[in-house]
Protein backbone atom coordinates (compact mmCIF):
# COMPACT_ATOMS: atom_id res chain seq x y z
CA UNK A 1 0.00 0.00 0.00
CA UNK A 2 2.73 2.47 1.05
CA UNK A 3 4.95 1.30 -1.82
CA UNK A 4 2.17 1.96 -4.31
CA UNK A 5 1.64 5.45 -2.88
CA UNK A 6 5.36 6.29 -3.08
CA UNK A 7 5.44 4.96 -6.63
CA UNK A 8 2.54 7.24 -7.58
CA UNK A 9 4.33 10.21 -5.98
CA UNK A 10 7.65 9.53 -7.72
CA UNK A 11 6.01 8.85 -11.10
CA UNK A 12 4.47 12.35 -11.02
CA UNK A 13 7.66 14.07 -9.75
CA UNK A 14 7.36 16.96 -12.23
CA UNK A 15 3.94 18.02 -10.89
CA UNK A 16 5.29 18.11 -7.33
CA UNK A 17 8.13 20.38 -8.46
CA UNK A 18 5.67 22.70 -10.26
CA UNK A 19 3.62 22.96 -7.05
CA UNK A 20 6.83 23.70 -5.11
CA UNK A 21 7.71 26.52 -7.53
CA UNK A 22 4.18 27.91 -7.30
CA UNK A 23 4.37 27.94 -3.50
CA UNK A 24 7.79 29.66 -3.60
CA UNK A 25 6.16 32.43 -5.66
CA UNK A 26 3.14 32.65 -3.36
CA UNK A 27 5.42 32.83 -0.29
CA UNK A 28 7.45 35.65 -1.84
CA UNK A 29 4.28 37.55 -2.76
CA UNK A 30 2.81 37.30 0.75
CA UNK A 31 5.73 37.19 3.18
CA UNK A 32 8.46 39.34 1.57
CA UNK A 33 8.70 42.95 2.69
CA UNK A 34 10.38 44.45 -0.38
CA UNK A 35 8.22 45.42 -3.36
CA UNK A 36 10.73 44.20 -6.01
CA UNK A 37 10.92 40.81 -4.23
CA UNK A 38 7.13 40.61 -4.37
CA UNK A 39 7.23 41.26 -8.13
CA UNK A 40 9.88 38.52 -8.59
CA UNK A 41 7.57 36.17 -6.64
CA UNK A 42 4.64 37.05 -8.91
CA UNK A 43 6.72 36.19 -11.99
CA UNK A 44 7.86 32.87 -10.48
CA UNK A 45 4.19 32.01 -9.82
CA UNK A 46 3.25 32.84 -13.43
CA UNK A 47 6.08 30.80 -14.96
CA UNK A 48 5.18 27.81 -12.74
CA UNK A 49 1.63 27.85 -14.13
CA UNK A 50 2.92 28.20 -17.72
CA UNK A 51 5.28 25.26 -17.07
CA UNK A 52 2.36 23.14 -15.88
CA UNK A 53 0.30 23.89 -18.99
CA UNK A 54 3.18 23.25 -21.42
CA UNK A 55 3.94 19.91 -19.73
CA UNK A 56 0.34 18.78 -20.38
CA UNK A 57 0.97 18.91 -24.15
CA UNK A 58 3.93 16.48 -24.04
CA UNK A 59 3.35 13.02 -25.55
CA UNK A 60 5.57 9.97 -25.30
CA UNK A 61 7.24 9.47 -28.72
CA UNK A 62 5.76 12.69 -30.11
CA UNK A 63 7.81 15.10 -32.22
CA UNK A 64 7.62 18.89 -32.69
CA UNK A 65 4.21 20.05 -34.00
CA UNK A 66 5.48 20.81 -37.52
CA UNK A 67 3.97 18.70 -40.35
CA UNK A 68 6.63 16.52 -41.98
CA UNK A 69 6.75 16.41 -45.81
CA UNK A 70 4.65 19.57 -46.01
CA UNK A 71 4.39 19.62 -49.82
CA UNK A 72 3.15 16.03 -50.11
CA UNK A 73 0.82 16.28 -47.10
CA UNK A 74 -2.27 15.51 -49.17
CA UNK A 75 -0.78 12.12 -50.14
CA UNK A 76 -0.79 10.67 -46.61
CA UNK A 77 -2.81 11.33 -43.48
CA UNK A 78 -1.32 13.26 -40.53
CA UNK A 79 -1.35 11.16 -37.34
CA UNK A 80 -2.06 13.46 -34.41
CA UNK A 81 -0.52 10.91 -32.00
CA UNK A 82 2.92 11.51 -33.59
CA UNK A 83 2.98 15.22 -32.70
CA UNK A 84 3.04 17.13 -29.41
CA UNK A 85 -0.18 18.97 -28.62
CA UNK A 86 0.44 22.57 -29.85
CA UNK A 87 -2.70 24.10 -28.26
CA UNK A 88 -1.19 24.68 -24.75
CA UNK A 89 1.94 26.15 -26.40
CA UNK A 90 -0.09 28.78 -28.25
CA UNK A 91 -2.15 29.67 -25.18
CA UNK A 92 0.97 30.01 -23.00
CA UNK A 93 2.72 32.16 -25.63
CA UNK A 94 0.00 34.75 -24.94
CA UNK A 95 0.46 34.28 -21.18
CA UNK A 96 4.21 35.05 -21.43
CA UNK A 97 3.54 38.33 -23.26
CA UNK A 98 0.85 39.26 -20.71
CA UNK A 99 3.28 38.48 -17.85
CA UNK A 100 5.87 40.88 -19.30
CA UNK A 101 3.19 43.59 -19.58
CA UNK A 102 2.16 43.11 -15.92
CA UNK A 103 5.84 43.14 -14.92
CA UNK A 104 6.35 46.49 -16.66
CA UNK A 105 3.29 48.05 -15.00
CA UNK A 106 4.26 46.66 -11.56
CA UNK A 107 7.83 47.97 -11.80
CA UNK A 108 6.59 51.39 -12.99
CA UNK A 109 4.30 51.55 -9.93
CA UNK A 110 7.24 50.50 -7.73
CA UNK A 111 9.42 53.32 -9.10
CA UNK A 112 6.54 55.78 -8.52
CA UNK A 113 6.17 54.57 -4.91
CA UNK A 114 9.93 54.96 -4.37
CA UNK A 115 9.85 58.56 -5.62
CA UNK A 116 7.02 59.34 -3.20
CA UNK A 117 8.41 57.64 -0.07
CA UNK A 118 12.19 57.08 -0.77
CA UNK A 119 11.90 53.40 0.21
CA UNK A 120 10.76 50.08 -1.23
CA UNK A 121 10.10 48.35 2.12
CA UNK A 122 6.42 47.81 2.79
CA UNK A 123 6.49 48.47 6.56
CA UNK A 124 8.38 51.78 6.11
CA UNK A 125 5.91 52.90 3.42
CA UNK A 126 2.97 52.09 5.73
CA UNK A 127 4.65 53.95 8.60
CA UNK A 128 5.13 57.03 6.40
CA UNK A 129 1.51 56.89 5.25
CA UNK A 130 0.37 56.83 8.90
CA UNK A 131 2.62 59.81 9.79
CA UNK A 132 0.78 62.08 7.38
Amino acid sequence: MMGEFMQAVIAKYNYWIYITLMMIGLYAMIAKNNLIKKIVGMNIFQTAIILFYVSIGVKKGGTLPIVEHGHGAHAHAVHAADYLNPLPHVLMLTAIVVSVATLGVALALGVKVYREYQTLEEDEILARIREK
Partner: protein, 81 residues
Protein backbone atom coordinates in the same frame (compact mmCIF):
# COMPACT_ATOMS: atom_id res chain seq x y z
CA UNK B 1 12.31 13.78 -23.21
CA UNK B 2 14.99 12.32 -20.93
CA UNK B 3 13.74 12.24 -17.36
CA UNK B 4 17.26 12.59 -15.90
CA UNK B 5 17.87 15.84 -17.81
CA UNK B 6 14.36 17.03 -16.95
CA UNK B 7 14.84 16.36 -13.22
CA UNK B 8 18.30 18.00 -13.18
CA UNK B 9 17.05 21.21 -14.84
CA UNK B 10 13.90 21.26 -12.63
CA UNK B 11 16.08 21.01 -9.50
CA UNK B 12 18.28 23.86 -10.77
CA UNK B 13 15.15 25.94 -11.46
CA UNK B 14 13.93 25.48 -7.88
CA UNK B 15 17.38 26.34 -6.46
CA UNK B 16 17.71 29.51 -8.58
CA UNK B 17 14.09 30.48 -7.77
CA UNK B 18 14.72 30.22 -4.02
CA UNK B 19 18.03 32.09 -4.49
CA UNK B 20 16.38 34.98 -6.33
CA UNK B 21 13.95 35.66 -3.48
CA UNK B 22 16.50 35.05 -0.69
CA UNK B 23 19.52 37.09 -1.90
CA UNK B 24 20.00 40.35 0.07
CA UNK B 25 20.70 42.56 -2.97
CA UNK B 26 18.09 43.62 -5.51
CA UNK B 27 20.53 43.66 -8.45
CA UNK B 28 21.56 40.12 -7.53
CA UNK B 29 17.88 39.14 -7.38
CA UNK B 30 17.37 40.60 -10.89
CA UNK B 31 20.30 38.63 -12.33
CA UNK B 32 19.18 35.44 -10.55
CA UNK B 33 15.73 35.96 -12.05
CA UNK B 34 17.33 36.21 -15.51
CA UNK B 35 19.07 32.87 -14.88
CA UNK B 36 15.73 31.41 -13.72
CA UNK B 37 14.04 32.55 -16.96
CA UNK B 38 16.84 31.08 -19.07
CA UNK B 39 16.61 27.71 -17.27
CA UNK B 40 12.85 27.81 -17.83
CA UNK B 41 13.49 28.35 -21.56
CA UNK B 42 15.83 25.32 -21.51
CA UNK B 43 13.09 23.25 -19.85
CA UNK B 44 10.57 24.21 -22.52
CA UNK B 45 12.92 23.30 -25.34
CA UNK B 46 13.43 19.90 -23.62
CA UNK B 47 9.64 19.48 -23.61
CA UNK B 48 9.48 20.29 -27.35
CA UNK B 49 7.70 23.64 -27.01
CA UNK B 50 10.21 25.53 -29.18
CA UNK B 51 7.96 28.54 -29.86
CA UNK B 52 7.37 29.06 -26.14
CA UNK B 53 11.10 28.57 -25.51
CA UNK B 54 12.31 31.28 -27.87
CA UNK B 55 9.62 33.70 -26.72
CA UNK B 56 10.75 33.13 -23.13
CA UNK B 57 14.43 33.53 -24.10
CA UNK B 58 13.83 36.90 -25.76
CA UNK B 59 11.02 38.27 -23.62
CA UNK B 60 11.54 36.57 -20.24
CA UNK B 61 15.32 36.36 -19.99
CA UNK B 62 15.95 39.47 -22.12
CA UNK B 63 13.34 42.17 -21.65
CA UNK B 64 12.33 41.24 -18.07
CA UNK B 65 15.93 41.37 -16.85
CA UNK B 66 16.44 44.76 -18.53
CA UNK B 67 13.24 46.03 -16.84
CA UNK B 68 14.40 44.77 -13.44
CA UNK B 69 17.89 46.25 -13.79
CA UNK B 70 16.43 49.59 -14.96
CA UNK B 71 13.98 49.66 -12.02
CA UNK B 72 16.76 48.82 -9.53
CA UNK B 73 19.01 51.58 -10.91
CA UNK B 74 16.17 54.10 -10.64
CA UNK B 75 15.41 53.10 -7.03
CA UNK B 76 17.81 51.35 -4.67
CA UNK B 77 19.77 48.10 -4.35
CA UNK B 78 19.29 47.76 -0.61
CA UNK B 79 16.73 45.36 0.86
CA UNK B 80 16.07 44.08 4.36
CA UNK B 81 14.89 40.55 3.45
Amino acid sequence: MLWQLDLAVLTLVVVVGIGSIMVKDLLGAAIMFGAYSFLMCLLWSIMGAVDVAFTEASVGAGVSTVFFVAAVFRTTRRTKD
